[in-house]
Amino acid sequence: RMAEDVKEESVTSNDESDLAASDGSLNNTMLTEGSCLLRRMEISVAEAEKRSGKNAVSIQETYTVYLVETRPMDAIAEGHNPPPDSLWRRYSEFELLRNYLIVTYPYIVVPPLPEKRAEFVWHKLSADNMDPDFVERRRIGLENFLLRVASHPVLSNNEMLYHFLTKEHGWKEMVYETGFQAKADSRLRALSATFRVRSPHKRLVEMKHYSDGLQSHTSQLLRARTRVADRLYAVYKVHGNYGRVFSEWSAIEKEMGDGLQSAGHHMDAYAASVDDILEEEEHYADQLKEYLSYAEAVRAVCRKHELSQFELEMASQDLISKKQQREELATGIVRTFSLKGMTNKLFGQEAPEQRDAKLNLLEELIAEGEETVKEKTAECDEHAEKAWADIVRFKDQKDKDLQEALINYALMQISMCKKGIQVWSNAKECFLKM
């Protein structure tokens, strides 16, 4: 459902930036700036299948593959119904794509994948990754991921994404060849270290705090909902015992027998109805889980900016100290304490040739340093600007999606109430016949 809206949304929101293709010429399947992939390509994750094979360490394993189907939009628009192109992808390949996108676009809130392992599981639901219900919900989640990425104004233009959708073999190698892994590793190391930024970006820091809040609120809600689901399940199922007992009781009664027997059937129906009710609620939980993961993505963007900011501050600091060194060397006046200054005092200054060599070196370094600072400043500002733009986009999307999710939840509750009214009215009719 959400995917549909995303499709629609992308169609309307991209109207202004999509001037190049607005004349309707969708024949062009080459990547054009500003247009989004989803306008040109229908994407779906149609099926899931179990496979067996030997893994990297030659151990037999079972895993699930998902069928990614694509069809050109222009052909569909013209009324043809071409068969889709398709290829199979594993969850790990989706993960690879996402990791690549995260590293390549550090200022973008990259849509999350459906959960790797089942979490917030109420007791009846299986926590087994091979469970068909779990696989089905994951299929939907993966499709949702692709649709979100393919409708994103920036992400949808990525070449690796295009190849993910179209090139079954060799795609992984292609991604690794970009060398993103190395960048990812160094980034990861840097991000795990604690560092303090002197002049933090106010709005991004606020956003980071917001994302922390979003994460804790959604997980609290999900946890509480799981417990409620467990209890609701118990309430409904216990009524099934009425079914059994009424049926036994009706056997020894004459006038009351029929009424009791049929009331018992309704109790059985009531007990059985909870399975569908809770299965539907899982979709609501999935929508919340998506935003739980989104919170993580937002936090990452803010942290990466902090890192950039920190690196900039380091570079600036370095430049300042080099300039100071130059001044000291040039004027001979030691402003700040330094080992060089001390040794000079103790052992006398060095020869003028040495000093000149040093000065020249310093000048070079300073020139480099100034370039670095300029680059890093630009980088940092650009990062902040782009990040904020995407965060604004994210906020709007979040508000819209979650409002819809809440409305859907209300609809589910309404449906549950209507079923309850039905069953108990029927039971009442039976009791009247007792």
Binding site: Q220, V238, N241, I414, F431, M434
Partner: protein, 428 residues
């Protein structure tokens, strides 16, 4: 809530269409209420008394209105007296003395209220009963002003001795077994055993349902606040989040009411019928004992009669012989002795016959009483349980209807909101 005796009279008059009520209430002229529990604290003990108000047009009563105070012990006394005098009538059960397992304090308000209602039902069932309502002890219970009056009656104890002998007789009978149980009572016994099992099961299931409902409600109470907490850090989403949170809150309140209804309507009724099943078993036992007593006496009579016949025969045989001996020894004593023996035998046999006839009557009476009361009981059992289940189902429908309204009004508010938003967006 019990009605006052006055309004009950009115209710009865209006409700003439109800055949079942008419059946039992054609002679209904005693209206009783039990209310106004008060605690009495003395040096020795603390107990609760209830006010028992009676309004009656029955000529057996000297006045038309009575008000007395009774404690639980007094009700026990009444029940025992009735059981003694009418062993095979089905007397509605009293609430239990003390429910250990529920850990409820004796003077807890809910406990007292539940008990009061049960006592009210107990007295009204007796007042409705065509035979029991005429009981002398019932009259005493309703009318004797000071509990001092009841004391001498009380001192007789709850029929301890009679219970003892009953038990011993029952043991003896179970050893010898009944000669022939009428088919109808065998069927009745089988039904009673099954009914008892079923009532226990339904009672258990209902209590389990209440337990699960409570736990569900507790979780809902934790769940609602998570929406409110989240709303605090949101702008646009704050309102719909709070909306859902308050829906959850209201639904948990409705669940609370649903639980209360179950506890106040269905549980007490089911519980009473679990106790009823025990009453029925006791009634059947007493009937069996009466029959067993008769059979025992009958057997004794039969064997004495046989002895007597044999004696007659041997007398006849020895008559000639004795005659010869008597003539020989000259002893009239033997003959005298013989006739005395005969006489004694005849007296014993005659006496036994009388007793047997009495007991036969008793059996007949007991069986008839039971038969009559059996159909009465079945009718009121059906009415009681039917009404309790209907009420429960209706309450559940009501619960879901209320929750439905809550969520629908939320939906309406959201749809309205989004309409506004869209209009606003278009305008800009």
């Amino acid at each position: 809530m019990p009605n006052s005796p006055d309004s009950m009279v009115n209710q009865f008059r209006l409700d003439e269409e109800n055949e079942e009520e008419q059946q039992g209430a054609i002679n209904k002229d005693i209206f009783v209420t039990v209310d106004n529990p008060e605690s009495h604290i003395s040096a020795i003990e603390t107990f609760i008394t209830y006010r028992v108000v009676t309004r009656t047009t029955c000529s057996e009563f000297d006045s038309s209105e009575y008000e007395v105070r009774r404690r639980y012990q007094d009700f026990l006394w009444l029940k025992s007296r009735l059981e003694e005098n009418y062993p095979t009538l089905i007397i509605h059960p009293l609430p239990e003395k003390f429910v250990m397992k529920s850990m409820v304090e004796r003077f807890n308000d809910d406990f007292i209220e539940t008990r009061r209602k049960a006592l009210h039902r107990f007295l009204n069932r007796i007042a409705d009963h065509p035979i029991l309502s005429c009981s002398h002890h019932f009259k005493v219970f309703l009318t004797e002003e000071t509990t001092q009056e009841l004391a001498p009656h009380r001192k007789l104890g709850p029929g301890f001795l009679s219970r003892m002998s009953e038990t011993m007789r029952a043991m003896a009978n179970s050893v010898r077994g009944l000669r022939s149980k009428l088919e109808e009572f065998a069927v009745m016994q089988a039904y009673v055993d099954d009914f008892s099992n079923k009532m226990c099961s339904v009672d258990k299931v209902t209590n389990r349902i209440i337990k699960e409902h409570r736990e569900y409600m507790d979780e809902l109470k934790q769940y609602g606040p998570t929406y409110f907490q989240w709303a605090e850090s949101e702008e646009l989403l704050a309102e719909p989040l709070k909306g859902v949170g308050s829906c959850v809150e209201r639904c948990s309140k409705e669940t609370e009411e649903q639980i209360q209804h179950l506890s106040e309507v269905l549980v007490p009724t089911l519980h009473e019928y679990v106790l009823c099943a025990d009453t029925l078993k006791a009634v059947m036992r007493r009937r069996d004992n009466i029959q067993a007593e008769f059979e025992a006496k009958n057997e004794a009579l039969a064997s004495r009669t046989t002895d007597k016949e044999m004696l007659d025969f041997s007398n006849l045989c020895s008559a000639y012989g004795a005659q010869a001996v008597a003539t020989a020894t000259g002893g009239l004593n033997d003959k005298e002795r013989e006739s005395k023996k005969e006489l004694k035998f005849e007296n014993v046999v005659d006496q036994l016959q009388e007793e047997v006839d009495d007991l036969a009557d008793r059996v007949e009476q007991a069986n008839n009483a039971l038969r009559g009361d059996w159909s009465r009981w079945r009718t009121s059992m059906r009415a009681d349980l039917k009404s309790a289940f209907i009420s429960t189902a209706a309450k559940n429908v009501d619960y879901y209807e209320k929750c439905l309204a809550v969520w629908e009004s939320f939906l309406l508010s959201q749809r309205g909101e989004s309409m506004e938003q869209r209009n606003g967006a278009d305008a800009s």
